[in-house]
């Protein structure tokens, strides 16, 4: 199904997911927390009736934990057996008519009717079945769009993790699991969701499939190499994923145009960092500088970039990292107006533009980390896996060494 990307919807969804993240890490009691997360789902998809169940592995039932908009359903439970759990796809929203297992449908028919269930989502934290959500009819449209299903899956995953971490769940399953910090798990929700949105941004631009994802990876590689850690790394990663979000409201025809762009079209495209900033600044991100990295990813150290024509000292390391990661990926992938450069040529191009487009210090770090990746000195390579494999490592290494030597001299 082809989907029109609606900006307001996008902002609402991202904000809701950010809210959700804040809720699950709040100091609220478990029941309120779960209830609130259920409210986030029902609000996002305008579902007046919904319920959340917790799996009790002793009774082999799903036991009602909390609900929204239902009456006289206290004590309702759902029947579920190992064979059902085996066939459920993890955190996947099922239209209940799609569930083909007879014993599941027969046993739960009455409960589903009482709960007015249309959609059933089995909740899994990793491989462990922890509960389920039932959703009633939507106020707006009937079925869920593919992107809505993606968002539902992200939320379901988050709720599953939260359930799994709860003491109540542990008691029910008689298990002492390590109490992982919710705070860490919250990161998943942001990352998964933001990744889903990044895919949507890239989908708009036929030439830049996975561009945002690669930019995020490259930026992380450079940031780690200059010694960034933890939250800062997450911030630059998210900035990479979302830097082009403004493109979703720029005419697709302009973005994918093969021929040279006219002045009007160029200024249209150049609006995207500002638009990205406008969109993202409406969202309360847990990382503080993301919006600025995004706004300035087309600035240059010589001050000839856009939108603010900032120069060298006005640009933060994060901006310089993102600008380089973005441009490097643009060079090494096909674009509407030109074919891609080989890795060798792209690296020479970066070198040529030092002090004008790119920052020298950051570029040196980039050369160094790439060299380390080629030599296998980095545990988790971030750049190499995304490059065409047709280069000769020996030649690239020689080039990188030569550039580094020249810059150090």
């Amino acid at each position: 199904m082809k989907e029109k990307w609606n900006l307001k919807r996008l902002i609402f969804n991202i904000s809701s997911l950010v809210d959700l993240g804040q809720e699950v890490t709040s100091s609220k009691g478990f029941n309120d927390k779960m209830k609130t997360t259920l409210y986030v789902v029902t609000g996002m998809f305008s579902v007046p009736k919904a319920a959340l169940f917790l799996y009790n592995s002793n009774s082999h039932n799903l036991e009602l934990l909390t609900h929204k908009g239902l009456r006289e359903i206290d004590g309702t439970s759902l029947y579920v057996r190992a064979k059902h759990i085996k066939i459920f796809k993890k955190n996947e929203p099922y239209n209940i008519s799609e569930i083909k297992d007879n014993s599941f449908c027969e046993h739960n028919g009455g409960a589903f009717k009482k709960l007015q269930t249309k959609t059933f989502i089995p909740l899994f934290a990793k491989d462990e079945f922890v509960g389920a959500i039932t959703l009633g009819k939507r106020l707006a449209r009937g079925s869920y769009l593919p992107s809505e299903k993606d968002v539902l899956k992200v939320i379901a995953n988050q709720m599953a993790i939260t359930l799994h971490n709860s003491n109540l769940f542990k008691k029910l399953t008689n298990k002492v699991t390590e109490n992982k910090k919710l705070y860490e798990n919250m990161r998943h929700i942001y990352h998964d969701t933001i990744q889903a949105f990044a895919a949507a941004i890239d989908a708009k631009d036929v030439y830049t499939k996975n561009h945002s994802y690669r930019v995020a990876r490259y930026a992380v590689a450079i940031a780690r190499e200059i010694g960034w850690e933890g939250r800062d790394i997450e911030g630059i990663y998210v900035a990479g994923l979302l830097h082009d979000i403004g493109k979703i409201i720029i005419d697709r025809g302009v973005i994918n145009k093969g021929e040279e762009l006219n002045t009007m079209e160029i200024s249209e495209i150049k609006r995207h960092p500002q638009i990205s900033y406008d969109i993202l600044s409406k969202i309360k991100f847990p990382w503080k500088d993301v919006v600025y990295f995004v706004k300035h990813h087309h600035e240059r150290v010589d001050g000839k970039g856009y939108p603010d024509s900032l120069a060298e000292t006005e640009l933060s390391d994060g901006v310089k990292i993102l600008a380089l990661a973005d441009a490097f990926d643009a060079m090494t992938t096909d674009r509407p107006y030109r074919g891609k450069l080989s890795l060798f040529d792209a690296l020479r191009e970066v070198k040529k533009c030092l002090g004008t487009q790119f920052d020298e210090k950051i570029s040196k770090v980039f050369f160094r980390v790439l060299q380390k990746e080629i030599k296998g000195e980095i545990k988790e390579a971030q750049i190499l896996p995304h490059l065409d494999k047709d280069f000769d490592p020996a030649i690239i290494t020689t080039l990188l060494e030569a550039i580094t030597a020249e810059l150090t001299a």
Partner: protein, 117 residues
């Protein structure tokens, strides 16, 4: 949400509710409960005046989704007034306004509801 105020209007079968502040956490459930109580008592014309309402997030949207659903179930008539664009955008996107009559202000909503008899 900090609070909200309720006034029952002359026609007696109309209630006007003014949510105040942010409708963005479970506290706002009281708004939904209040609506339901009126519907249950037979006061089925509900006006929600948005002039003092700020920001709304998905949790708030859930509350309003519930209010719409309950009004439908009780065969009531729900009116929204004094909405700002941010509210209208969210409600339109969620398909909530489809089930609601939207008026510029309370006076227009009241004269419409009185006209219903």
């Amino acid at each position: 949400m900090n609070n909200f105020s309720i006034s029952v209007k002359p026609a007696n079968d109309i209630v006007v509710i003014m949510p105040k502040g942010y409708v963005n956490d479970l506290g706002a459930e009281r708004l939904e409960q209040a609506c339901e109580q009126f519907l249950d008592k037979g006061i089925k014309k509900v006006v929600i005046n948005f002039s003092d309402m700020q920001f709304i997030n998905s949790i708030g949207a859930s509350i309003f989704t519930g209010i719409v659903q309950k009004t439908l179930e009780y065969n009531g008539q729900l009116c929204f007034t004094n909405m700002r664009k941010v509210h209208r955008d969210v409600f339109e996107m969620l398909g909530i306004t489809k089930h609601v009559k939207v008026f510029k202000d309370e006076r227009n909503a009241l004269s419409f509801l009185k006209g219903l008899g």
